[in-house]
């Protein structure tokens, strides 16, 4: 029971990679289906469709990023892994924004991507604008990423 702190911290790291990654998998998968449909019709749009498909993929990477920072901070990747229970719970809490917002934003961003792929199917010249709609959703993933990063770096200096 002494190492419960470490357990919770690791749970946080795992969740952020897991949940955000799952969101991106769902999102990239969904957008990919639309992209494949577009390329059947117009192979020259492949690169544009690919960019739109990849947009919901970033949440998984942010999740990985948070997981990795947490792992280095709690000593799983070397160093001291002496984490108190309270600190472990703090790490868990710090990872949650990225995990949850990552999942939800990836899912909704992919719906935007699908719609944007439909847009460039009809009007290929509108790619610049089509790209912005999914990018608006990503803002919230970035804000969550920021809160998670700042929290994790902050926890290291908290003395409990």
């Amino acid at each position: 029971m002494e190492n419960l702190g470490l357990f919770f911290a690791l749970l946080g790291a795992a969740l952020s990679a897991l949940v955000a990654g799952a969101g991106s998998a769902v999102g990239v998968g969904r957008a990919g289906q639309a992209a494949a449909g577009l390329v059947t019709d117009d192979p020259s749009q492949f690169s544009r469709a690919l960019i739109l498909q990849l947009l919901p993929g970033t949440q998984g990477i942010y999740g990985l990023l948070i997981a990795f920072i947490t792992l280095t901070q709690i000593g799983i990747m070397g160093g001291s892994s002496d984490i108190s229970l309270a600190k472990g719970l703090l790490y868990l809490a710090a990872c949650l924004p990225m995990a949850i917002v990552g999942y939800v934003s990836a899912s909704y961003q992919s719906k935007c991507s699908v719609a944007s792929i439909g847009l460039i199917a009809k009007r290929p010249d509108q790619f610049g604008r089509a790209m912005i709609f999914p990018a608006m959703v990503e803002t919230y993933a970035i804000l969550a990423l920021l809160v998670s990063i700042l929290s994790i770096f902050g926890i290291a200096n908290v003395n409990i």
């Binding site: 970033t58 509108q126 790209m131 920021l146 700042l150």
Partner: protein, 679 residues
């Protein structure tokens, strides 16, 4: 750095020169043809002399030719892939006017060739459709192959022969017993099974002629069916069919051979596609022109810098009159942007948001400055930047013939790469921390590392966050500044004060005020704090700004009550400044994403390398992980940096001043795919 000034151009020429003049204009590609509505400018309504002539039927013929030739090109490309297929970087092939004219003379021969290719392809398609039909016939014959008589064989003088199938697999005894039980008093039958499979049993049943009716009745009860094939004996039929199949396959191969032989004429087919496309465009313009029995008029817009040479060339070559006029202030002239080599690459970015409206500022230069900085901050790895710079430089120097649009994009990424390299060195990131990882894993020197010129964001994320906000504020204030400039230029000085200066006071004042508060400076990790008196000055500016906005924000309303309410609503816009500034936190987040993921891959590589005990094998394993990992990281983060730089420009920056809504300059030009004709 501006919108090109446009002039109105009027050309009056002789009808005999019509073709040459139009072709000349098409090759120059500097005139957007816009024919005014009748009743305006030159032409009266129901003008007795000048009429528009409908050319759409000719245009339809040309469009049809384009499509037919495209089909032929597809056929050729399917037979042998095009070695000179147009790619993103290759651009159109230049062809001289004399070459063009020689080729045009051959156009009928080329069109014959096109029709020949298409008819070959059609014949091939027919054969390809027939092959499966023959194959399925062969397949139905399969169960009967061992039978030597024609399947319609009825019998001899005294016997009657039934040839047919039973559903499912039926053993010989069951057939005998079935016939016997259904037809009791017959002399007897002879059953032979020709073939049997789980789906069907093919049989020949011989009975005496006098029993024929009874046997037939019995067979009907047993779901006996006649074979689906008639004609010659199955063996002979099968032989005929396979001969037919061979012939078809041979014919198809022959046709394909013929098509392959024609692939060396591919360039001619491409040429004819472009030729008819240009003619079709020309006839579209022609339908629009006003013509009298002997003359015609072309009106349109051209950039001012082109007009003099255009007029001179036209008048020296043809009997025509060219008039250059200043467009009326109310006319919505087409908009083309012109910029220096530093800002021109981002014109595409600006245009894909919107073309600047008439009289609006062309934001390309400020967009370019911030674009390269913001992209660099988000990718922020020196090695990645160098890779991008080298890749773009190679493409730019190798593919001289690139279309201007692609060339600009490449140049844009080249500058973005320079920005990335700069910030990478500032933040000490070169493939993440590879210098340190490599030194400690293979050289045992953990003290070697690439020091940042400024600081490492991962060690001081809050400092980087503050810097991101600062960049954001500069970006937003630049946007406001452009709005100020535009308003003042249009003489709306009061509007400039109300809509820009008050906001400068309010937002700027707030920033300085916050920087006098210990709470904020501590939070941002600043080592300095503005002295308390600054707070008072800042407060004064804030109040002036706030009051000014509340009083003037709703100035279009005459009613003071309404006006103040609207003003309060404008004041509420301060929250959008807050969210705009916070939006720049993505600079930190994306920058960290690049460096942390690089670190992850470096660490994975070094863990594997030390796992096998270093040495050559360790180094090779490290190299594999390094190359794959960093290629992935570069791709995904360059995409992220590109998308989010665009977002910051479109949403935060353009939102402050840019309305757009102009109409792009679309000159009458060679709108071709493969060739461009030059004088």
């Amino acid at each position: 750095m501006s919108v090109l000034p446009m002039k109105r151009v009027i050309i009056v020429g002789m009808k005999s020169d019509r073709k040459q003049i139009l072709e000349f204009l098409q090759r120059r590609g500097v005139l957007e043809v816009r024919t005014p509505k009748p009743g305006k400018a030159l032409i009266q309504e129901d003008d007795p002399v000048f009429q528009q002539i409908d050319m759409s039927s000719a245009k339809i013929t040309f469009d049809k030719n384009v499509n037919v030739a495209k089909q032929a090109l597809d056929v050729l490309n399917q037979a042998v892939p095009d070695p000179n297929a147009p790619s993103m970087f290759s651009g159109r092939k230049a062809i001289s006017l004399t070459d063009y004219e020689t080729k045009v003379k051959k156009r009928d021969t080329i069109m014959e060739l096109v029709y020949q290719i298409n008819s070959l392809a059609k014949r091939d398609a027919e054969i390809k459709a027939e092959i499966p039909r023959v194959e399925s016939q062969l397949e139905t014959l399969q169960p009967w192959l061992t039978y030597e008589l024609p399947l319609e064989f009825e019998g001899t003088k005294y016997t009657r022969v039934f040839i047919g199938t039973f559903p499912n697999e039926v053993p010989m005894e069951d057939i005998y017993s079935g016939i016997e039980s259904n037809a009791k008093d017959i002399t007897g039958v002879d059953v032979s099974i020709i073939s049997s499979s789980p789906e069907q049993t093919c049989v020949q049943i011989v009975a005496l002629k006098k029993d024929a009716a009874k046997v037939e009745e019995a067979l009907r009860h047993m779901s006996f069916a006649r074979p689906p094939i008639s004609g010659k004996a199955p063996g002979e039929q099968a032989k005929d069919l396979s001969n037919r199949l061979d012939a078809l396959n041979k014919k198809s191969a022959e046709i394909n051979e013929n098509i392959k032989l024609l692939t060396d004429k591919r360039e001619d087919v491409k040429f004819i596609i472009d030729y008819f496309k240009m003619r079709s465009d020309k006839y579209e313009v022609l339908s629009d022109l006003y013509q009298s029995p002997k003359t015609f008029i072309i009106t349109g817009f051209a950039p001012e810098r082109e007009t003099a040479s255009l007029a001179e060339l036209l008048e020296s070559r043809f009997d025509c009159i060219v008039e250059i006029k200043e467009p009326k202030p109310t006319t919505k002239t087409p908009v083309a942007l012109t910029n220096n080599g530093f800002a021109a690459p981002v014109e595409g970015v600006v245009e894909s948001y919107s073309i600047p409206g008439k009289g609006e500022f062309d934001p390309s230069l400020p967009v370019a400055c911030f674009y390269y900085i913001l992209f660099g901050l988000m990718l922020s790895d020196a090695a990645y930047g160098i890779i991008i710079v080298i890749a773009c430089a190679i493409i730019l120097s190798k593919c001289k013939n690139m279309e201007p649009g692609t060339r600009n994009t490449m140049k844009m990424f080249l500058f973005c790469g320079i920005g990335t390299t700069f910030w990478g060195f500032m933040f000490g990131s070169f493939f993440g921390d590879v210098v340190n990882v490599f030194a400690s894993t293979f050289l045992g020197r953990s003290d070697i590392a690439l020091p940042p010129i400024w600081f490492e964001p991962i060690d001081a994320p809050i400092k980087m966050l503050a810097f991101s906000f600062l960049i954001g504020l500069i970006h937003l204030f630049t946007g406001l500044g452009i709005k100020f400039y535009t308003l003042v230029k249009h003489g709306q000085i009061l509007d400039a004060i109300y809509d820009v200066v008050f906001w400068y006071f309010l937002v700027g004042g707030s920033v300085f005020f916050l920087l006098t508060m210990p709470m904020i400076t501590e939070m941002l990790g600043l080592s300095w704090i503005l002295p308390a008196p600054v707070a008072n000055v800042a407060l004064v500016f804030m109040v002036i700004g706030a009051v000014g906005i509340i009083l003037t924000g709703g100035r279009e309303s005459k009613n003071w009550f309404k006006r103040i309410l609207k003003g309060l609503y404008s004041f509420y816009g301060i929250t959008s400044y807050l969210s705009d500034v916070l939006s720049y936190s993505r600079l930190l987040a994306l920058g960290l994403a690049t460096s942390v993921i690089s670190t992850v891959f470096n660490k994975m590589g070094s863990m594997v390398a030390s796992g096998v005990g270093g040495g050559i094998i360790g180094f090779l394993l490290f190299l594999i992980i390094f190359v794959i990992g960093h290629a992935l990281n570069l791709a995904i983060n360059a995409l992220g940096a590109y998308v989010h730089t665009n977002r910051l420009q479109y949403v935060e920056f353009f939102g402050k001043f840019f309305d757009g809504g102009g109409k792009a300059f679309e000159p009458f030009k060679e709108n071709t795919t493969y060739y461009k004709v030059s004088e």
